[in-house]
């Protein structure tokens, strides 16, 4: 007699995550087999996945997701986790080879939601495309986690000849952004605050591997960054210090959707300080700027690309913003939490 499955009954998806799902026993094996592997079909057997040999430098990165809410217009925790890691690889010019997913699940999480998450992880990885080759699951007691914590690590290969470094930035270089800024952060902020127009806002969560490939096919890209947490403000300030330079940005050239701008005004939050999950900032050589802008705009993920400023020679590494009124001000890192005004 041969058994079709080591499990006497199929996993009951109307149930919830329980402690024994992480205990290393039969329940965990069943969760992995019938829920995760059903969707994440590239996960290999054995304690570690093996990858084929590659030529070129390897790039490796890891990214944890604790987003709340987990489901939002334009994406979800699964797509965010995959694209976050994939885009970090892409910003070094790397083509993603493989990803791993670790999950910390809180007791009581509905299995149906967990399955939706597995589906999203699988679909997001397939869209890149990149295989998810290994995974891990732990379960914590109720109250000791926020539903799901997700961590995605990735490895990629950087083609020979591709070097993207902040140290390559020179005064006079131009700053290119691939599209509208603040969409993701303002969507989540508005959802959390229960603003009525949340329906008009949508996260920009998307992989940028193909857009990066188009840009790198043209010479002149010095450095790439994805302006995630802290938004454009944090990214450009980091670049100013890493590249030992300053920046002068033109506020009127920075693309921001009117609904994002409006939500920012209502919430008292600057769209330039909130996260993007599908945009890049490129520092480009001055003579290549117009050509790269044309290439970016010809790509569906760069339709709203814009040149928003220049690199300056500034020993104090200030990021200055020419305001819509014609004055200048500093664009600084966000200081702590945004607080309600009192007068």
């Amino acid at each position: 007699m041969t058994a079709a499955s080591p499990f006497s009954r199929r996993l009951d998806l109307t149930g919830t995550v329980e402690l024994f799902h992480g205990g290393g026993g039969r329940a965990m094996a069943q969760l992995i087999a019938e829920l995760f592997r059903k969707h994440l079909r590239d996960v290999q057997d054995g304690d570690a996945a093996l990858l084929p040999p590659v030529s070129g430098r390897l790039a490796v990165t890891t990214d944890a997701s604790v987003v709340a809410p987990r489901w939002f217009p334009g994406g979800d925790m699964g797509s965010l986790a995959i694209n976050g890691t994939v885009n970090d690889l892409a910003m070094r010019g790397a083509r993603p080879l493989a990803l791993t997913v670790s999950m910390v699940l809180e007791e009581g999480l509905p299995l149906q939601e967990l399955e939706r998450l597995a589906q999203s992880l699988a679909a997001s990885a397939a869209a890149v495309p990149v295989p998810v080759v290994a995974g891990d699951t732990k379960v914590v007691e109720r109250g000791k986690g926020d539903g799901v914590f997700l961590s995605v690590a990735g490895v990629g290969v950087v083609p020979d000849g591709v070097t993207l470094e902040a140290s390559a930035i020179r005064p006079g270089d131009r700053v290119l952004v691939s599209g509208t800024l603040g969409d993701h952060g303002m969507t989540l902020m508005s959802l959390r605050e229960g603003l009525g127009f949340a329906g008009d806002l949508q996260s920009d969560c998307q992989p940028l591997v193909d857009l990066v490939a188009s840009l790198l096919a043209v010479s002149g890209v010095r450095c790439l960054r994805d302006p995630t947490r802290g938004g454009l403000a944090a990214t450009v300030n980091e670049l100013a210090w890493a590249g030992a330079c300053g920046f002068l940005l033109d506020e009127t050239a920075i693309p921001i959707r009117p609904t994002v701008h409006a939500a920012g005004e209502l919430l008292g939050i600057d769209p330039l300080t909130v996260a993007n999950e599908g945009k890049l900032v490129a520092i480009v050589a001055p003579d290549a700027a117009d050509r790269l802008l044309t290439v970016a705009r010809a790509h569906p993920k760069g339709r709203d690309a814009a040149l928003i400023g220049t690199v300056t020679d500034d020993p104090r590494h200030f990021v200055q913003l020419k305001t819509e009124l014609g004055g200048t001000r500093i664009l600084d890192w966000l200081m702590g939490e945004q607080l309600p005004r009192i007068c």
């Binding site: 009127t252 009117p258 609904t259 701008h261 409006a262 005004e265 020993p315 104090r316 200030f318 200055q320 020419k322 305001t323 819509e324 009124l325 014609g326 004055g327 200048t328 001000r329 500093i330 600084d332 200081m335 702590g336 939490e337 607080l339 309600p340 005004r341 009192i342 007068c343």
Partner: protein, 368 residues
């Protein structure tokens, strides 16, 4: 959104700036104080000083409730939370302001004090209802803008018999601060008056001051074009030799203000004989406390806590900055020892504070 962008048009701003330039005689240098910290913030955020002629100098005023609150008042709040076992509810702005002995509300919280950041007194009242076995104190700060909401919470607590709620009352009054600025010997030619305060008080509040001090006061909104227009109105008054109260912010402010809010304040509060301000010193009739019929909601009386004046950090120039005597960059520790991450004085902590606004938006103007 158009409603906002209309108040930020670059071409209109340039037209207004040109009109300001034309209105100021070539041989004059006028110092105009914007009273309110919210105005200071807008001026720095939009880079308005870049648009003004050098003959118009903006001086930043004391209109930041966090900045003018002396250390001794913060010590009272920390004492309530740390040694009286009260739940202390505070606006977020106060949390990181340095108090005595290198403490702050934040460090007191880390040492076990139950300190909660709230959006306003109603939220504190909600906590008092939810936790009737605990004493809940709302750390009330602010000018006339926030005083009515505190008054409303106290009245509601009295009407619904909430016995475990009280307020540590630090509401202060604008006219006293304006008068103190001029008496302190700072040369100011005209004032941009506070917009949010005036929604409550009306522009009438400033009429005695303008007449007595013979200085123009123009109440302004918070968008950049509001401010440029208000500055134009001030310089035109100065050019004409007028000293009137004018209202640039007519879309929100009237001459008489909000009568309901004023009546509520009159019922719940009474004038303190005197109040100690950071920078401006001890001034009579410059702050509010609870009227006797609401005395049981006054945390100072309820917990019998006294006030002890505490000197500012000796390197900190906040006291001179709130009086308009110094600019943030004149302070020895500005941007070096005192930054938003490591604040020494209140002006660097509060989002309404001059130092925070300069640090966030304007420090590129300083020589390296």
């Amino acid at each position: 959104m158009k409603y906002v962008s209309e108040f930020r048009r670059g071409d209109t701003a340039r037209t207004l700036a040109a009109a300001i330039d034309a209105a100021v005689p070539a041989d004059r240098h006028w110092r105009i104080m914007e009273f309110c910290g919210g105005h200071t913030h807008s001026i720095c955020r939009f880079g308005l000083t870049d648009l003004l002629p050098e003959r118009v100098e903006l001086v930043h005023g004391p209109g930041c409730p966090v900045c003018v609150l002396p250390i001794g008042r913060l010590d009272q709040a920390i004492d309530l939370a740390l040694t009286r076992n009260a739940i202390l509810c505070s606006f977020g702005d106060m949390i990181r302001v340095p108090a005595s002995h290198r403490t702050s509300l934040m460090s007191a919280k880390a040492r076990g004090a139950d300190i909660r950041v709230v959006y306003g007194p109603q939220e504190a009242l909600k906590i008092a209802r939810a936790e009737p076995e605990r004493e809940v104190v709302f750390f009330a700060i602010g000018f006339e803008t926030t005083a009515p909401t505190t008054a409303l919470a106290v009245k509601e607590a009295a009407q619904t018999g909430i016995g475990n709620f009280s307020i540590l009352c630090n509401h202060v009054l604008t006219p006293a601060a304006l008068t103190a600025i001029l008496e302190g010997g700072v040369a100011i030619d005209g004032f941009v008056g506070p917009g949010h305060v005036s929604t409550i008080t009306g522009t009438r509040l400033f009429e005695p001051f303008a007449a007595l001090a013979r200085k123009p006061v123009v109440v302004a909104g918070f968008e950049p074009l509001d401010l440029l227009q208000a500055i134009l109105m001030v310089v035109r008054q100065l050019a004409d030799g007028r000293a009137e109260v004018e209202n640039q912010y007519a879309r929100a402010v009237s001459r008489d203000g909000n009568a309901v809010a004023q009546a509520l304040m009159a019922e719940v509060f009474t004038l303190r004989p005197e109040f100690d301000w950071r920078g401006l010193g001890t001034m009579p009739d410059s702050a509010l406390t609870l009227a006797d019929r609401y005395a049981c909601f006054d945390a100072e009386r309820r917990f019998n806590i006294g006030y002890a004046s505490v000197a500012d950090h000796k390197a900190c120039a906040c006291a001179d900055i709130v009086r308009g005597l110094k600019k943030p960059q004149d302070c020895k520790v500005f941007g070096t020892a005192c930054t938003p991450q490591t604040p020494i004085g209140a002006c660097m902590v509060s989002p309404e504070g001059s130092c925070a606004a300069y640090y966030a938006y304007g420090r590129h103007r300083e020589p390296a």
